[in-house]
């Protein structure tokens, strides 16, 4: 059998292959030859064959059939065999292979070999890829070698011990005695590896940490010698003596000084010395400074030293070397929480880094900039950050936009500024904004009451420019739906109001519905906005038409909405104004709650996201089942009539005034507090509801109010069978010669009562007693307290609005006893 070809020969041959296929062919041929050679158990050429196999393995070809051969090589007496064998073991074998364990014995023997280079090979292999079992078996040998005086072996043994500890932490104790005088070594190799070993032990065990704290003075001395000693050719790197050792010592000092005042005190001087004396012209000096800064920031150093450290980082930021700038930004990010003021001083440099060409640096600068924003610098910082948002890569935009929103929310100097900032983000990075920002922004806009006109105007203008960015479009359509009346009436104070007609606005919203750019969610927003405008605009017919068209939309969501809105137009037009009225100020916590659904005749209300619907809708008395779902609230919500576009939530204040004396906890309660569960009182009152009852007929009627020609009479009946409920019918008559139109009757009762107002018969009280308006009030009086009521009347008489408040105290005793 001819001798197998030499390694270099093979490499040369394979490199001549012009295609992948050709190379594969060569490799396969050679593998076959190697395999047959292995089968023949040829000792002479085993080494050569394994070497070739390792080369082919590096090219990506399978080499598992050589694993056992590596073991044979390791077991051989020849140094060359061992060298290749161990290399093969490190490349081809790892913990998962079974043959791995077979190495243990060989390694053990080699650890005790007479030649230090063989021992070195064994230590190296064990320290690189020894499994836990192997480590357990051989820890004793390693420990022995750790105590040898041979520095070549000692340094390798130290790192091997590190590996053993990493694999089997319980064995750490075993190496403790051997560490006794490791630091008194002169040999830098041993010193370095010893520091690594000590670091590993201190990081893993608090006891070890305590034990080794006493080494701090020694470490400080060694470091001092390194800095002060003259040129040492053996360890010099660009004028610095053994930077690797210096950095490792600094790191160990960091671990030892952390949360310990005495140790920190002991290293203060040396740290200051290193920080000020290290040559910074080359990377190596900066590497040491970097480690020094990290140590200073982590231990309990005095403030002067900390400021020195931050200033070093500040200088790093100005360095031409990108790596150093990157490292500075990363470190500043770590310290910005604890040393905020010191880092603030370097703010302008950090902001400049936003313009850096390097992606990693830009990202760090952005994170750091957001961390530095506070109430004082918000305007300036935001300018820079918005500029950054404009020009940065798409990968940054989402994070930057979120950061801007967060910062604006925390530190906005004025509402106008806040809205402007949001507008800017939406228009420049609108498509990258996170989905959850849309509801947050809507809430913010709602709560900035005085800015509504300005906001809707700006959003409208933005929509005219660009309808492709969905979050922007969603927020804009919501606002237009909500505040469209402000838009067309040109009420903007903050800037020049634009002239826009209702039709133009509807054109824009309808445009969104048909545009291909609009997402389904956006279409939903748009349709709801159009619907809402039906109570704010006068072109109701146009809106009706749009809504009816979408009743047959393929999009199920749109279809459902349109069908419901259609129903609202057709059957429940009297409810429409109340349903579509202005949103109240939203509580921040409540706005994340589930959408409240109020049943109205089995239909759900148009569920605009994250809103609560305030006014509760009353039912005609014969809609029995639906009454079950309404009300039941604990506070009496003076139920507002549905025949008028009702006042916005701020009207709650008025009602509070109305009820003040009655010490009602009044005010329109936020709707989510209204449970959908059925209170007994309504249930009881429902079954058969004779409006008149023999028993209650005995209660005499009373005049509750009589003024300016308007007279309101109360007639009573007891709801059967619940005697706690008084059913009062009001009769409103008008003795004047002009009709009273838009008549609204409102009532409030003290806390211990509950009140329900049903729909009035009409809202025009005809003149000259030609007719009356009747309305049913149901009062629950479980505590049988004296019934008192406060009423508020509003109507239009002879063209002018009239409003009056009155207290009704003259209830006949039978009505509440």
């Amino acid at each position: 059998m001819p001798a197998p070809i030499r390694l270099r020969e093979l490499i040369r041959t394979i490199r001549t292959a012009r295609t992948q296929a050709e190379e594969r062919e060569m490799i396969q041929k050679e593998c076959a030859a190697i395999r047959s050679s292995f089968r023949e158990e040829d000792n002479t050429y085993r080494c050569r064959n394994v070497a070739k196999l390792l080369y082919m393995h590096m090219l990506g070809y399978p080499a598992h059939f050589g694993q056992l051969e590596c073991l044979k090589l390791i077991a051989s007496q020849k140094f060359t065999d061992k060298r290749i064998g161990y290399l093969g073991a490190m490349l081809l074998l790892d913990e998962r292979q079974d043959v791995h364990l077979l190495m243990t014995n060989c390694i053990k023997n080699d650890l005790n070999h007479s030649t230090q280079y063989v021992q070195g090979l064994a230590l190296c292999t064990l320290g690189c890829m020894g499994s836990s079992e192997m480590c357990r078996d051989l820890a004793g040998e390693v420990e022995k070698l750790l105590k040898t005086s041979n520095s070549y072996l000692r340094k390798k043994a130290a790192l091997c011990a590190v590996h053993v500890i990493r694999k089997v932490p319980e064995l750490m104790e075993m190496f403790l005695p051997a560490t006794k005088n490791l630091l008194s070594e002169k040999n830098h190799g041993v010193l370095h590896t010893s520091v690594v070993l000590l670091t590993e032990m201190c990081e893993r065990s608090p006891d070890m940490l305590l034990h080794f704290r006493k080494l701090v003075p020694q470490l400080v001395r060694i470091l001092k010698n390194l800095i002060m000693s003259g040129y040492s050719p053996e360890h010099d790197v660009s004028g610095i003596s053994d930077p690797f050792l210096q950095v490792r010592i600094l790191r160990l000092l960091r671990i030892l000084g952390r949360s310990d005042d005495d140790s920190s005190e002991a290293m203060n001087d040396i740290l200051a010395q290193v920080a000020t004396n290290t040559e910074t012209s080359k990377n190596v000096g900066n590497a040491i400074l970097y480690e020094t800064v990290l140590t200073i920031m982590d231990i309990k150093s005095e403030s002067g030293l900390r400021v020195l450290a931050i200033n070093i980082l500040g200088r790093f930021l100005l360095n031409n070397d990108k790596n150093i700038r990157y490292v500075a930004l990363t470190s500043l990010l770590k310290t910005v929480q604890t040393d905020h003021n010191a880092v603030q001083r370097h703010r302008s440099t950090i902001v400049d880094c936003l313009k850096d060409l390097d992606v990693s640096i830009k990202r760090r600068a952005m994170e750091l900039s957001f961390a530095l924003v506070n109430g004082n610098n918000i305007r300036g910082m935001m300018k820079e950050l918005l500029y950054f948002l404009d020009s940065c890569d798409p990968e940054f935009k989402a994070d930057c936009a979120s950061g801007v929103f967060l910062a604006a929310e925390k530190y906005a100097p004025s509402k106008r500024w806040h809205i402007d900032t949001i507008m800017r983000v939406l228009t420049t990075a609108g498509s990258y904004v996170r989905d959850d920002s849309v509801p947050n922004l809507i809430q913010l806009i709602t709560n900035s009451v005085e800015m509504h006109a300005y906001t809707v105007q700006r959003l409208y203008k933005a929509l005219l420019d660009d309808i492709s960015q969905q979050p922007l479009v969603q927020v804009s359509s919501w606002c237009i739906g909500e505040y469209g009346d402000l838009l067309v009436s040109g009420q903007c104070e903050e800037e020049e109001p634009i002239q826009v007609t209702e039709d133009e606005v509807l054109d824009v919203l309808e445009g969104l519905l048909v545009s291909n750019l609009s997402a389904p969610v956006t279409r939903g927003y748009s349709l709801t906005a159009i619907m809402k405008l039906s109570t704010r605009f006068s072109s109701v017919n146009r809106i009706k038409k749009v809504v009816s068209i979408y009743g047959s939309s393929i999009d199920v969501e749109l279809q459902q909405r349109a069908v419901e809105y259609n129903a609202l137009f057709k059957k429940y037009d009297h409810m429409r104004p109340a349903l579509l009225e202005r949103m109240p100020i939203m509580e921040k916590t409540a706005s994340n709650g589930p959408t409240e659904i109020v049943q109205t005749n089995g239909e759900t209300e148009p569920s605009v996201p994250d809103t609560k619907h305030l006014p509760l809708v009353t039912q005609p008395a014969n809609q029995a089942n639906d009454l079950l779902d309404l009300l039941g609230g604990n506070d009496v919500v003076p139920v507002i009539q549905t025949t008028l576009p009702t006042k916005p939530a701020s009207a709650g204040g008025e009602l509070l005034d109305l009820l003040g004396d009655l010490s009602l906890s009044g005010g329109p309660a936020p709707a989510p507090s209204v449970p959908v569960s059925k209170p007994p009182f309504l249930l009881d009152g429902l079954s058969s509801q004779p409006l008149f009852n023999d028993i209650s007929a005995a209660i005499p009627p009373m005049t509750a109010y009589s003024k300016n020609g308007l007279k309101i009479e109360f007639t009573f009946e007891r709801a059967n069978p619940n005697p706690n409920i008084a059913v009062i019918t009001i009769h409103a008559t008008n003795t004047t010669e002009a009709d009273m139109t838009e008549f609204v009757f409102q009532a409030a009762v003290p806390k211990t009562f509950q009140l329900q107002l049903l729909s009035p018969s009409s809202n025009i009280v005809p003149a000259l007693n030609q007719g009356s308006v009747t309305q049913v009030i149901r009062v629950l009086n479980p505590q049988k307290q004296q019934l008192r009521m406060r009423v508020k009347l509003t109507y239009t008489h002879k063209g002018s609005p009239v409003q009056d408040l009155a207290e009704v105290n003259n209830f006949p005793p039978q009505s509440w006893q």
Partner: protein, 154 residues
Amino acid sequence: MMHFLLLFSRQGKLRLQKWFTPIPEREKKKIVRDMTTMVLGRKPRSCNFLHWKDLKIVYKKYASLYFCCGLDAEENELLALEVLHRYVELLDKYFGNVCELDIIFNFEKAYFILDEFLLGGEVQETSKQVVSRSIEASDMLQETMEEYMSKPAF
């Protein structure tokens, strides 16, 4: 500690791979692919540091070879650059004006030198001379064997 050290060419061909943690073969291949893609995709004047999973990746280009290592998050990146540089210096001393071809044809020597410089992912010797002397001595041991065998080992 260093988790791995890779050397690859501008075309993405692997010239050396040293792993200091046990990783399955398939995953090693994936890491190599990821590293080559990431590093070769970097713009020319970017900084030498990257993030990948929870490791810091430090790389440096020397002529046509990329030296790429993966470090724990608490390692000093600037010092890692010095480590890579030291390794190149050692190779240079050994081969005399080292180039990629040297490493291709003498890959096993490159490994031997590395094994005298790093062990278990940490630096074992900070003196260039000591490392060089160890390599020379080991080589002598090998040659002695070869003379004894009166034929080249491989």
